[in-house]
């Protein structure tokens, strides 16, 4: 198991991460449901984390993984606050359709 990158190659992980990230972006653009948009953002974060870990393995350096911890902490905080915002939007507007959020202008 130790030399997984010898078998697979770092480039495949990069491909996977890129595709995963783009799926996340696609989800953000495609859906109107704020919850699904949030999930897409989580997918993007995961793509980045995956790439971190892949390169951490590649360089055999623990710092990449440490960074993933922080990114997870940030993701947790973000989800907590974000979902709270979604809840309060739902309370105020009765829906969480992002196309209904049209007040973000001067």
């Amino acid at each position: 198991m130790g030399n997984v990158l010898n078998q697979i190659g770092i480039e495949n992980y990069i491909f996977l991460a890129v595709i995963l990230f783009c799926i996340g972006v696609f989800g953000v653009l495609y859906r109107r449901n704020a919850i699904i948009v949030f999930m897409s953002i989580e997918i993007m974060l995961n793509a980045v984390n995956l790439l971190f870990v892949a390169f951490s393995t590649y360089h055999q350096d623990a710092q990449g993984q440490i960074f993933v911890f922080f990114s997870m902490a940030v993701a947790a905080a973000e989800v907590a606050v974000g979902l709270a915002i979604v809840v309060s939007i739902f309370r105020n507007l009765g829906s969480i359709d992002i196309d209904n959020l049209k007040n973000l202008k001067g």
Binding site: M1, G2, N3, V4, L5, N6, Q7, I8, I10, E11, N12, Y13, I14, F15, L16, V18, C22, I23, V25, F26, G27, L29, Y30, R31, R32, I35, I36, F38, M39, S40, I43, N46, L50, V53, S56, T57, Q60, A62, Q63, Q65, I66, V68, F69, F70, M72, A73, V74, A76, A77, E78, V79, A80, V81, L83, A84, V87, S88, F90, I96, D97
Partner: protein, 172 residues
């Protein structure tokens, strides 16, 4: 074909497929379930790369904490209905277009930078056991002590913020 390669292809297929299904499911509950599977498969990748500790943390944080939050929110708002109206056709097609655009741009960057990425060379040193990670994370000399503490502050603040935001306003 080697077992590991096979495992990688399998995991990758599951990751990408469930990610897509998350987005395309009409019912938010289904999306959440697919997302959990997606997270588990990403965790499988971590395991494949022998990062056991990270795998555990990932499962706990994402598949555990975050997904529970999602599910609770969905149920709290009673959204488990397939009543969402699609975006206009133009927006959906442009979303697809942007998906391919971003993919193309990133792939191009990757291909351009290929000469720099060399072959993997396993030195056999221990770099990702819990012991080493703990040392790197908490070593007061050159570790990540301060950011680590700040992360705890961040989480605390996020918690307070979440409570404040979701608290019902008193009707005036």
């Amino acid at each position: 074909m080697h077992t590991i390669t096979l495992l990688f292809i399998l995991l990758s297929a599951v990751t990408v497929a469930t990610a897509f299904l998350t987005i395309f499911s009409k019912n938010p509950i289904h999306s959440a379930i697919y997302l959990v599977i997606c997270f588990f498969s990403v965790g499988g990748h971590y395991l494949l790369m022998n990062s056991q500790f990270l795998f555990i943390v990932h499962i706990i944080v994402y598949a555990g904490a975050i997904m529970i939050l999602f599910l609770f929110t969905i149920m709290l708002m009673n959204l488990n209905k397939e009543d969402e109206v699609h975006k206009p056709r133009l927006q959906r097609w442009s979303a697809v277009l942007f998906f391919f655009l971003l993919c193309a741009v990133m792939m191009l960057i990757f291909f351009q930078s290929k000469p720099i990425v060399g072959d993997y060379d396993d030195l056999g040193t221990d770099y990702q056991s819990i012991k080493v990670l703990g040392k790197v994370l908490l070593d007061s000399e050159n570790g990540f002590m301060v950011p680590f503490e700040f992360a705890s502050v961040l989480l605390l603040v996020a918690m307070i913020g979440a409570v404040l935001l979701s608290k019902k306003e008193k009707s005036s």
